[in-house]
């Protein structure tokens, strides 16, 4: 599928520190400069497709980390996995939130739903506030880490912060 090849090429370029353009991904996929326009109206549409794949990969990472039988421990696992994802794929993570891809907290599928389901299992009195608090905390930790603003807390430090959050819910 040409579309998949173009998104893959854009993701590779992004993660190698290059700015993906429709022209550059066409060259990388070995097709004409006009071919991408069959699938993407413009560069923003291409980047949205990359962001959508990023959120799908994040959802997989959160599900994979949600393994502890104790629900609070499972939530802590998800939170640490969120931060680890951002640290491992910083360019993709930044794009996911800067792109036009229309995910908002409250969407009932994908990465957000994985977190919301776990928070709901804790029986919080205000599930919307509890889910928003959980996402915002790990998102804030991730952004501060990427921007070099977190002191050296170590992995145990992040766990202490996320555990404190989990205790609040």
């Amino acid at each position: 599928m040409l579309r998949d090849a173009l998104v893959k090429a854009a993701l590779d370029m992004l993660e190698q520190g290059e700015e993906p353009s429709l022209r550059a991904v066409a060259r990388a996929a070995g097709v004409s400069a006009m071919a991408p326009y069959r699938h993407f109206a413009d560069k923003a549409a291409l980047l949205s497709a990359v962001a959508e794949q990023g959120f799908a990969a994040l959802a997989v990472a959160l599900v994979a980390a949600d393994v502890d039988t104790d629900p609070r421990a499972a939530l802590i696992g998800q939170g640490l996995a969120y931060i680890a994802f951002a640290r491992a794929r910083p360019a993709l993570f930044r794009l996911m939130f800067a792109s036009d891809f229309a995910l908002t907290l409250g969407d009932d599928s994908g990465a957000f739903a994985t977190l919301a389901d776990r928070v709901a299992s804790l029986g919080a009195r205000d599930p919307q506030a509890a889910t928003t608090l959980s996402w915002a905390t790990v998102h804030g930790l991730a952004m501060l880490a990427l921007d070099g603003r977190l002191p050296d807390l170590g992995e145990d430090g992040e766990r202490r912060v996320v555990a404190l959050l989990a205790g609040a819910l």
Copy 2:
């Protein structure tokens, strides 16, 4: 003071959606294109000075909001003021964290200390984790709001989320 005038010009340009360059701020301040180099080695140094002013303004906003005699209510006031600052001055807020200005959580003066002092007054068992959790949560809420990812919680919604955080400390 030329330096102050240059920083002010850069801040004004930034908040009007323009990219501040040394050349452009020299023009705005009515000095020669070379004059800024007496104060700033390059554009990054100029932007760091703008970011430093932004953190000073944030510290003032946090102190001004820390008024309730109940310490948890005062912390909630600070948290909401942090998010309000980001919403009111999005370009400055983004620059503050993207710039080279070397603030990290744990610095013992300025905006971070204002929050750390209030968290310490709550008697948290792990003050470092509690302060990091507080900053990360409001930073995450602010970033998600600026990136259009928060559902419409309304002002009361933000208060519910920040209050849930405050209850955890």
